[in-house]
Symmetry: C2
Subunit: 232 residues, 2 copies
DNA sequence: CGCCGCATTGAAATTAGTCAATACTCGTGG
DNA sequence: CCACGAGTATTGACTAATTTCAATGCGGCG
């Protein structure tokens, strides 16, 4: 089941991210123990990291590259729940089994942590548990936004919202990198590849965005983009 | 901001629910303290319990009735993220502010708990924190399913999935009560009231379901309903 | 009894999907 | 160095699904 995980010896740290704002009073020795459980994983374009319903043994953090989390219907229709970019955690939303399949959008490096170790630490250190809960809440907030988008927004509004979200996550808020294909974007937004392409072309014609190439976008008129996005 | 909350003195318990499967080792005295913070709240049809972006001071648990959690777009389009029925918790997904507006679908009674108290307890008792995290994960799993539904399923599939989900939550799995209006259902599934009505009528014609009245459904052919739902 | 809100049903309009052709990009090999 | 080919993106024409608009029906309550 769980995929071809190339590994190399390394000891990166999950701790700074989990400490974040709001955690306090952890015992340093316990944190040091966590540092030792991180292992580097590398994936090539389209490799799977894990599959839906696999036992959730690990948390992951993206170091470089991008991962998509997707679910499939029996007849092949696909939905991409979210994209995970550098710095994002994967698997925090899994209770005991992963709830989606994770695949590399591009060549990707991640760090893998034993859930067992993190959970054991959380048990001893309420601060860590609090932090995990807070991250889960953030995921729920994002999911609510996405449901509003999927349930009630038009194609143009979905694309505009997506571009703004990507701008907020990556880089300077004006230059956007879209490592995924148009099909990936469509499967994330509940649209077809063609509709994604058309909506992007239309935004270009309207002077709202410009393309450096098909995977690099520049926001030309953020006010209008926000207007189109209908960010409630 | 935060709504008209009719109250009466009472001391119901949040503890059994939070203890659930998987929590263990809480100190009884701390639990007793929690019991004292519960207050009964009653709402009438269409009353608001709280509004999106209100400071999240309370957790709620539905005792009787039903609540919808909804978000609005600037032009009035509405999305219902979820319905909360007897036994369900509301507000666990709020980090510091509520992420949707909660309104009573019918006359409803709830119990209200100070987040402050619950959070303080979670800090002392990792088991409670673990339990909260587990509930949040359950919410994320549900959200993923809903996103798949909204992004990739047809109207008929959405209705069938919804009926099965309601059947699983309420009662005996065969007799379903739908306290909400067709518009509420539509706003939950990303459809119009008319499309909801048509899809239900079609299921009735096909002999898959039957109506006792417009708010009470009986599943006649579960196998076919599951087939239509495309539950991956 | 009659009104009002909700539900159902029908017909027209619109959005996004499907099918299909063409173009672009990038890597490989002649 | 350029031609070729595979995969991806764009664009067009047509189709299908759902929405919108509109009329009618049903049920509870004053």
């Amino acid at each position: 089941m769980a995929a071809h995980l190339a590994q190399r010896a390394d000891t990166p740290s999950i701790v700074p991210a989990l400490r974040g704002p709001g955690a306090r009073g952890e015992r340093p020795d316990a944190l040091a123990a966590l540092d030792r459980v991180g292992t580097v994983v590398t994936l090539r374009h389209d490799d799977s990291l894990f599959y839906e319903d696999d036992a959730a043994e690990y948390y992951f953090k993206v170091v470089t590259g991008a991962v998509r989390g997707c679910k499939l219907l029996a007849d092949g229709r696909r939905h991409v729940g979210d994209f995970y970019l550098a710095g994002d955690f994967i698997g925090l939303d899994a209770d005991t089994r992963y709830i989606f399949t994770a695949e590399a959008v591009t060549d990707t490096t991640l760090v893998r942590y034993q859930r067992r170790s993190v959970d054991a630490l959380a048990w001893q250190e309420p601060g860590i548990g609090r932090r995990l809960l807070s991250l889960a809440c953030r995921g729920l907030t994002a999911a609510q936004h996405q449901m509003l988008l999927l349930g009630r927004k038009t194609a143009d509004e979905r694309i505009a919202s997506f571009l703004l979200a990507m701008a907020a996550r990556s880089g300077d808020g004006e230059h956007i990198v879209l490592p995924m294909t148009r099909t990936d974007i469509g499967d994330h937004l509940g649209l077809t590849m063609e509709t994604v392409s058309r909506a992007l072309s239309q935004l270009k014609s309207a002077g709202v965005i410009a393309f450096k190439n098909s995977h690099e976008v520049v926001i030309r008129d953020r006010a209008q983009l926000e207007d189109i996005a209908e960010t409630a």
